[in-house]
Assembly symmetry: C2
Homo-oligomer: 453 residues x 2
Amino acid sequence: MDTKTYIAANRDRFLQELFEVLRIPSISARSEHKPDMVRCAEWLRDKLLAAGADRAEVMPSEGNPVVFAEKIIDPARPTVLVYGHYDVMPVEPLDEWRTEPFEPVIDRGRIWCRGANDDKGQLYMQAKAFETLTATGKLPCNVKFMLEGEEEIGSPSLYRWCEEHRELVAADVILVSDTSLLAWDVPSITCGLRGLCYMEVEVTGPDKDLHSGLYGGAVANPANVLAKLVASLTDERGRVTIPGFYDDVRELTPQERADFNKAPFDAEKYKQALDIAEVAGEEGYTTMERTGVRPSLDVNGIWGGYTQEGTKTIIPSRASAKISMRLVPNQDWEKIAELFERHFRAIAPPTVRVNVRKLHGGAPYVSPTDLPAYQAAARAFETTFGKKPLPFFSGGSIPIISAFERILGIKAILMGFGLDRDAIHSPNESFSVDCFLRGIETIVEFYKNYAHE
Amino acid sequence: MDTKTYIAANRDRFLQELFEVLRIPSISARSEHKPDMVRCAEWLRDKLLAAGADRAEVMPSEGNPVVFAEKIIDPARPTVLVYGHYDVMPVEPLDEWRTEPFEPVIDRGRIWCRGANDDKGQLYMQAKAFETLTATGKLPCNVKFMLEGEEEIGSPSLYRWCEEHRELVAADVILVSDTSLLAWDVPSITCGLRGLCYMEVEVTGPDKDLHSGLYGGAVANPANVLAKLVASLTDERGRVTIPGFYDDVRELTPQERADFNKAPFDAEKYKQALDIAEVAGEEGYTTMERTGVRPSLDVNGIWGGYTQEGTKTIIPSRASAKISMRLVPNQDWEKIAELFERHFRAIAPPTVRVNVRKLHGGAPYVSPTDLPAYQAAARAFETTFGKKPLPFFSGGSIPIISAFERILGIKAILMGFGLDRDAIHSPNESFSVDCFLRGIETIVEFYKNYAHE
């Protein structure tokens, strides 16, 4: 039986199995779901064994367990390590769900459930592609699975787990289905993710809130000062003013820029969807470039003083902001955090004290399009979608992906089959049945292409 | 009996009476205290009658009643209208009080109670000065009292009440004890109050919070934009940049500036008390000038986006700020509100929408030092304190004072006897017994001087 026929013949069972795992409320952010995490890991272990793994285990970590499985057909052949996560985001606000969050329903060709896409639906495509290849006797290489239960809370345990299991997970490439297509008719492969450097700043003036009548005009107001400091972090050309910020940014070649801008982009539709009159950003770059390959600086939160209804005439004692920067190759987030802190302290006037804290960060990631595995993935998309996929640089960050490269020395290929409308992390998450099945087919083709490189 | 002897002889009774009125919890901000407001007004009416008024009434207003009383000795003589307020601020946080908020206690020469200074203690000095003059047969002019019960909530009813009772309250000067001395050994008369123009602004970008990874760098961030707009409202010389803002500001003459800066000011003590390293403000002016006779612009509150513990990677849909300006003669707060709104809209980039609201305002007030009533007050201080009082411009605002001038056409003299340490509006409010008695004596001297002008 060929692989396509096998997938079609087993379609309903694949979906039924997916529904089983979707029903387990494996919310990593809530400690009361610990038993669900274990149940979910054990269920996946059993299914990977049934799909043809030689070995499958639920392995402890400092947090939720990691499911590891492998099938070694020949140590001399290449090895693919599949990464995915079985934990899901919380489901609040509950009253916005049109169906039960953990009871999958198919409606208008889509599976509606928390985790339908992110990432149970997508990791199960990987499991069923593996089954298809083993069942049809067509698996051309070794396969390992590493499925974690803490991605939605920042993978706190997986970094160390990887360091302690380097040999076990050794592979030639990591395959991940946890991203989206540009559109159903615009297949794409995410070949870049931005890094992140998330800071918090606090500006303190007088040791208590002051009467703004008695002191206004004579004492530096921390909220006014904060506004000036934050305002000065970007210039009128939309560039970040922190000295050294752009030093390590790799500039695209004209050819790369031309390729990059081939992705379809409808500015009017974009503005309409966000209800904004104009886009804005770094001078000389397109919107796609601004979010894909250029760094950015955003205030994620700002607060200080009296923020309730009505009036209170005070000079607040302090004001704060959360400020994060998205980074691109080859920016180092720890170095950027240092540059930020040094600059922020340097520009603060002597009338206030500033406190700068580094909250979180991660390196940018890029998978060059000339990697053999990228080429194998690209040809797989061409086979199943009938057109060449566009290499796509997502503005988001998945810190664990760049950590795989740093810790394990393995590049990842991001073959994701979600769509924008899937509302991951939101109420009424969904995943198209067509995406699910086409995903399995495409992953199967990837293996065929990759093992013949 | 001379007036000084009368005051000394009746000292204990004066204090006992003050204690009676202090025990009434006349908190205007809490509707459950309505009966206390009436009780307090009736108590004052009775005491003013007993002190020698020909007539005393509790008169209705749209809100809490106004106590009106008068003694007309000769329509041809000048008339003094005493203004005061019998309402007090709320007492929260209760656990910070060292004594019961509404049970007066004398300790270390001070009366501890809500309202001890603001304004029951100070208005009762006026009542007892009046009694002293009538009882000793030395009242040299006509006297009227207008005591309101809503000052702490912005005098919402008194504006209209004054318009409707212009004839009743007609007078030559208004006398107010509701301010402070620079210090016990630095007697002063408040001859200026700043005005106020309180605005709220909101900057809106996309119609929902956006993922700062997917959109960061391509969409204007309302919090970043708000920071830029707020930052631009003042320049590096500490001046407000709103076009026309300074057009009506009366500049002091060199002589006035010299006089103005005679008030003792200890910069080191000032900075130490506020725990700041440097003062800050408009270039070319002293701290006293910056708070007394120069306008200012302060952010009273700012907020937008994620402000809890930890990180959330969003571009907030909107960000807001409360911004108030202190005004000086001859700035018009309604005009300034218009200039502010026009300017803020003009500088907002087309990438966002802005909403500007006027929340509150009041005119600045000034009582020239060459007014006969000011001169009478100055000589009274000289008699009782042994030194000339300094004319003092307070940075704060009492909007009703400038309204008296506008509605009634009467100037007010602000003879206040509080001290900085009295903690008005805060827990553990107090008022020095010495201030209370010296206040009565000084007010008595004012009448003697004023009626002989």
